[in-house]
Subunit: 341 residues, 2 copies
């Protein structure tokens, strides 16, 4: 039995904990509700208890290497404290890492949730065969994480990979960050619903208006369902989404020259609806580019003219994430494995 570490995905809704062997085999996964309302100390106690239970169980078979915890928020890597976390009020200015280390008597790594998702896809997912990659997570907003030479790139203070706030429209929609025309205003679940509501308010779509009237939730998924049923107004919204995402990615490809971009997050399941216009933008705007089907991440090509191939000899791959919501869990576990952090 090999050595193992424990990965934790501390979300606003679920607290998920997994024991993963150092060679990437899942040993056991536990999902608990995150009782954020009961306060920081309660969540930390429950997390530590679950980690201790799992580590005690597998310790008989291999060495417990430590725990990695993925957290939605900005983490101060030096102090192991949270700088800011919208979903975890009351966690800032508290020595989170030190407290958990004290309770566990083991090494603990804190990391931003998008960064651990990137590391998970790098370790065991779509990007396992390339050294340099980034993940773009499409959810309520756009998250991002960058891995260079197999390690998370944090930047000077943990604020790297904020792909959602790359401006793509000079005079675009206002964004919560204080800017406007940010990528996540066009390529996120929030953006999909807003664009649909704009079409409804403008009297531009009877089908969307009917759907909104009959569907109390009226989410990005509702609009995606319309789109794949052939609704032209729904399809137009995802074409716009893909165009924005393609423009974002083209810029990232030209700046970073990574081997691969992995597209994850809940809204990546709408791939069929947004990917065609995304690839169109990428083909036109990026200097090195190729896309592959997710089943074959290093094989087939989609696009990439002979001219581009001749000029560059190697192309950036744009593909779907493979690990779904487990990417962060595996990436968190990887932090505590040898060579992970």
């Amino acid at each position: 039995m090999p050595d193992f570490s424990i990965g934790v995905d501390l979300g606003g809704t679920n607290l998920r904990i997994a024991a993963v062997s150092a060679d990437g085999q899942l040993l056991e996964k536990v999902t608990l509700g995150t009782k954020v309302a009961l306060g920081r100390d309660h969540v930390i106690a429950e997390m530590c208890e679950a980690i201790q239970r799992l580590s005690a169980q597998y310790r008989t078979e291999g060495l417990f290497l430590g725990a990695g915890i993925g957290i939605p928020g900005i983490i101060d890597m030096e102090t192991g404290m949270l700088r800011k976390s919208a979903n975890l009020p009351g966690w800032s200015d508290y020595p989170v890492r030190a407290e958990i280390e004290r309770r566990l008597g083991a090494r603990v790594f804190l990391e931003n949730d998008a960064n651990v998702a990137a590391l998970g896809e790098k370790w065991l997912g779509a990007a396992r065969d390339v050294p340099n990659m980034a993940i773009v997570t499409l959810g309520t907003g756009i998250g991002g994480g960058i891995v260079l030479n197999g390690k998370i790139w944090h930047g000077m203070n943990g604020m790297s990979g904020e792909f959602g706030h790359v401006p793509i429209e000079p005079d675009g929609h206002a964004c919560g960050c204080g800017g406007h025309g940010c990528a996540e205003q066009y390529a996120s679940a929030t953006a999909v619903v807003r664009m649909a509501r704009e079409a409804i308010t403008g009297g531009l779509s009877q089908s969307l208006a009917a759907a909104a009237a009959s569907d109390a939730e009226f989410s990005a998924r509702s609009i995606y369902n319309l789109a794949i049923q052939g609704d032209e107004d729904g399809r137009r919204i995802f074409r716009r989404f893909g165009k924005a995402l393609g423009m974002l990615l083209a810029g990232l490809v030209n700046v970073l020259n990574l081997d691969m971009f992995v597209i994850g997050g809940g809204v990546s399941s709408a791939w069929d609806a947004f990917a065609p216009t995304m690839f169109e933008e990428l083909r036109e705007r990026s200097l090195v580019y190729a896309a592959t089907a997710p089943e074959d991440p290093l094989g087939k090509e989609e696009g990439a003219s002979a001219q581009v191939l001749a000029r560059t000899r190697r192309k950036t791959i744009i593909t779907r994430a493979l690990l779904g919501s487990d990417a962060g869990l595996y990436g968190a576990a990887r932090l505590a494995a040898p060579g992970g952090a």
Copy 2:
């Protein structure tokens, strides 16, 4: 006398060669015309002769560590060959590095010209006190080079830092790269002249039309001179320039989270004309940001709200390059110094 290396800046017009001590002191600098028309072999022979002359002269005083050569083009780092160089026809598919190493009997490093400029500003210029930085060179187009943890970031195949081809206008001006709306279509010498000619053709500016009629060159410098003399049409062009550059930089700041961006290249001398709108965009669109005066690159602040400061505690600095056209020469020399490449 310390050990020394030799830096070469192989431009389309000038061939500049400098002996630089390992602690960054210029020993001697030679400028020759690049006789590109006489062919590759002639240029290489002349370069090697000058390197040998300089190295023989200073070798009596310290160890000759090798030579670094900055070249405008895409370099294959593994083979030491040029993949593509618009200014150096006939240099592709020729073992440039191996041939020069053979002639000199010393270690030789080839590097893209924007990358060595970045390394030069990191070593001895505006970014000497920070580990992570990029240079944005404003010239005919926009060049770029990224330094992470003190080393040039090449990406997977030397195509990183193509800042000029980050799209900033969804439906913008066509670009030579095949895309459209690229940053260099709005923030380069070429763009300044094009925007002026557009204004003239559209009958929108009598002052620019008069200047163009009386000035055979009618360059970005001519238009800058009008702008600083108060011409509103010239000023408008540089405001547009600054807005585009600010949008580009804001995205880069949010993606890379570097300590510093250094603005260099010939058109950076128009700083006063474009910087105000550049900083405006940066303040609005970037999550971490501060600007400083070039004389005081780590001191004074320009912008950066208290809220942003409180949220991040550290800010990216946007400042002017300090080494001018010598940045690449120093950076090239640095490649051959210990820990440089």
